[in-house]
Symmetry: C2
Subunit: 237 residues, 2 copies
């Protein structure tokens, strides 16, 4: 669930705890810390030059973000993502991104729509050039715009959480260029539907966009990467 309309965001940049939190999140999402790796308070503290207190508080936040698991009196461990988790997230996101697109059709501002168009235009350029990093960045930003445009702090926050959570996987799988181009075309269709005021269509397209993204991940070896590496409950896909 977490917090919503908070101008002073929880990951506040200016406190030590906030900086530790951001750093650790980044390191986990980027894969610097592997799954099931243990994070020790003193080690992290020394590495970042802070005491245990801010580290501990950052741990509590990371736990609620689902990035680590804290076992009382034992330790903090980077959580693993199973193939089943990824499948579930995309199922949930499919519905919620659809809802988001539907709501955004009524609520989107002129500025947001313009940024969307620019985003798609730029992405096409980078797709042709094969700039994968920029593609990923633009993809993230496209969804962020959509989340902002739905005018629901709660939905926005929920989607952002899920989106961030699968970034770990995405970095390894979206790196195929063919999907990048197809994905951007789907973005364009969604944008066109929103622009035309067709909420139903926008919802369906956003819905489908997630399903396609997931199918592509499966094709490109999601199973091999995250298959049975975990607690052995990777069943579905």
């Amino acid at each position: 669930m977490t917090n919503y309309d908070n101008k002073y965001d929880a990951n506040d940049k200016y406190s030590l705890r906030g900086r530790v939190f951001q750093k650790l999140r980044e390191d986990i999402l980027s894969g610097k810390f592997k799954e099931h790796e243990e994070l020790k308070e003193v080690a992290i503290g020394e590495e970042l030059g802070v005491s245990r207190t801010p580290v501990r508080e950052a741990f509590r936040q990371l736990e609620l973000e689902g990035l680590i698991q804290i076992i009382p009196n034992k330790g903090a461990y980077v959580t693993g993502i199973t193939a089943k988790d990824v499948k579930d997230i995309y199922m949930i996101r499919s519905l919620l991104e659809g809802l988001c697109a539907r709501l955004a059709t009524d609520k989107i501002t002129k500025e947001q729509l313009e940024e969307m168009e620019e985003n798609i235009y730029l992405a096409e350029f980078h797709a042709q050039k094969g700039h994968l990093d920029q593609m990923a960045e633009l993809d993230n930003r496209f969804h962020d715009i959509l989340y902002e445009a739905c005018d629901s702090k709660l939905l926005e926050h929920t989607l952002r959480d899920f989106h961030r959570y699968v970034l770990r996987v995405r970095q390894k799988t979206l790196a195929t260029n063919t999907r990048g181009l197809a994905s951007n075309n789907e973005h364009r269709q969604i944008m066109e539907a929103i622009k035309a005021g067709d909420a139903e269509l926008a919802e369906q397209l956003a819905n489908r966009h997630m399903i396609n993204a997931y199918d592509n991940m499966v094709k490109n070896g999601l199973k091999e990467i995250y298959g049975e590496s975990d607690e052995g409950n990777a069943e579905g896909q």
Copy 2:
């Protein structure tokens, strides 16, 4: 987002932090702490007989659960729920409870199905007797069973978060007996669909169940209670 399959739950009962966390959450949800009320570390600590450290850590968790907002160097405040928030949550829940019911149709165990039937049977009894507290309890439990039955830790956790989050409102509005009876009949229909293996129908019914619940809240004065009491962004409903 928060943590998922964690046998050692974050709100661990045996640490001071865990107890403080649970106590504060309970007090916020029950309405003992009013919206926008400031929570001071020392005051809470003295009241519960602990130092500031576990209180601070509990605060971090409450913040990520969306129950309080922490402004750096200033204080912790109980978050307000606007009418718009409630509307958004029910919109989201409508989709996700539908998904949950659909998945549960395939995954539910014999035991879970039996507990569901028993739950509905008991609820009918208490509805006739006008036992509102028990009704609320059984209603919560029904949805918990459904969440467990969908066999998705992620969906289960997400729905539980939203469910808990609206408890604050529910306690004030579901207290009408007529809705209790209707609600229980909807539970029965959902259960029957699941039992019959009709996933599509179960999804639609669960979907509709949420919409009905929300409509009833609006009828029974949600607006009056949570209308403009907040930041003045209660627009939609």
